[in-house]
């Protein structure tokens, strides 16, 4: 091995490592940073949770009709009004809870990412 070739070889491999890091890993670091720093992340998560909960809530009427049919019975108009009123309150509560939980989880996720990754590449250096 010639003069300086050891340093040159190590330097070249190190540059390849750095290029590999930039090409293969930095995009994922950026995804993580984007998630942690995006102020819209909470809004998106609560919107998603609300949509999921509302979709599930909308199935209640069908489930109820099936269950009552299995029992070979049906609701009177008065009973239906009472059930609808109760369901409206219950669904609202479920929607609020779903959004609150989504918000809490998302904020906790963001804080967790920031806490664990703050040293990140700076720490490595």
């Amino acid at each position: 091995m010639g003069i300086g070739s050891v340093a040159t070889q190590i330097g070249a491999v190190s540059q390849q490592e750095w290029s590999t890091y930039l090409q293969h890993f930095v995009p994922y670091e950026n995804q993580l940073i984007q998630y942690a720093m995006d102020p819209n992340q909470v809004t998106q998560a609560t919107s998603q949770a609300l949509a999921t909960q509302e979709q599930a809530n909308s199935q209640a009427t069908g489930i109820q009709a099936n269950n009552l049919a299995q029992m070979e019975t049906s609701l009177t108009p008065e009973e239906k009004a009472a059930v609808d009123k109760q369901r409206g309150l219950s669904n609202s509560l479920a929607n609020v809870q779903a959004q609150n939980k989504a918000k809490d989880v998302t904020v906790a996720n963001q804080m967790g990412v920031m806490g664990s990754q703050a040293t990140g590449i700076t720490g490595a250096l």
Binding site: M1, I3, G4, S5, V6, A7, Q9, I10, G11, V13, S14, E17, W18, Y21, H24, F25, P27, Y28, E29, Q31, L32, Y35, Q44, A45, Q48, A49, T52, A56, N57, Q59, A60, T61, I63, Q64, N67, L68, Q70, M71, T73, L75, T76, E79, A82, V83, Q86, R87, S90, N91, Q97, A98, K101, A102, T106, N109, V113, Q117, G120, G123, A124, L125
Partner: protein
């Protein structure tokens, strides 16, 4: 090669082994582990919040199935209660059935959303895992560059030292020659004429003392003969 010649210091065997191992390790990493990291990256990226991934679809399906199974048992108990004299036509019974339907629907929503949040959590853990791998690679690259710089620096210093030694050896030889010529030139002339004061310093005084027989070397004899010593 310096002005007066001299060799250069090559890498030590340990440095050669270090370079070879360093290269092989990275080649092995590229061959075996980098494809896995790439695959993990693809899978993880597909799990990003807001994306319709198969993982989220599966979580939704599981949430639906788990809830349906749990409430199917509830319905089976209600059906069984009918045979023990419960009046299925009573408002209380019917409102109970309707309330169970509302609870089932809400539970589905909670279960699906919980699954979604678990997928997001797995997405973040995957990204953190990739970030950790990338951090190690970046640290390795930085360490490698540091090693290369240090080896280069050591080689430069060693080469400079080798050249210095060679040059100083050559200069000593040249200096000895010049010194000998100088001593010869500054010896008193055969006619006893005064010496020319070229430097006015101790060097000349030493030469004078030496010429007067005070000493034959630059050692203690010369110093003892210096004025005021």
């Amino acid at each position: 090669m310096g002005l007066f010649g001299g060799g250069e210091v090559g890498p030590t065997p340990q440095e050669q082994v270090l370079a070879s191992t360093f290269t092989q390790q990275f080649q092995d990493y590229q061959k075996r582990w980098l494809p896995i990291a790439d695959h993990l990256g693809d899978v993880v990226s597909s799990m990003a919040p807001g994306k319709d991934s198969w993982q989220r679809a599966e979580a939704e399906g599981k949430g639906n199935a788990d809830t349906a199974m749990a409430f199917a048992q509830d319905m089976a108990q209600r059906s069984a209660s009918l045979s023990s004299g419960v009046n299925a036509g009573s408002s209380r019974f019917k409102l109970g059935v309707a309330g169970a339907a509302t609870a089932e629907a809400e539970s589905k929503g909670i279960s699906i959303e919980s699954g979604n949040q678990q997928i997001t959590s797995a997405y973040l853990k995957g990204l953190q895992s990739l970030t950790a791998q990338g951090g190690k690679l970046a640290a390795g690259a930085t360490q490698g560059m540091d090693m290369a710089a240090q080896i280069t620096s050591h080689e430069a210093i060693n080469n400079a030292q080798v050249q210095n030694s060679a040059n100083s050896g050559a200069m000593q030889a040249v200096g000895f020659g010049i010194g000998a010529l100088g001593a010869s030139a500054m010896s008193p002339s055969p006619g006893g004429g005064p010496m020319t004061d070229l430097g006015g310093g101790y060097g000349l005084q030493i030469q004078q003392n030496m010429a007067q027989g005070g000493g034959t070397s630059f050692g203690a004899g010369s110093v003892e003969n210096l004025p005021g010593v």
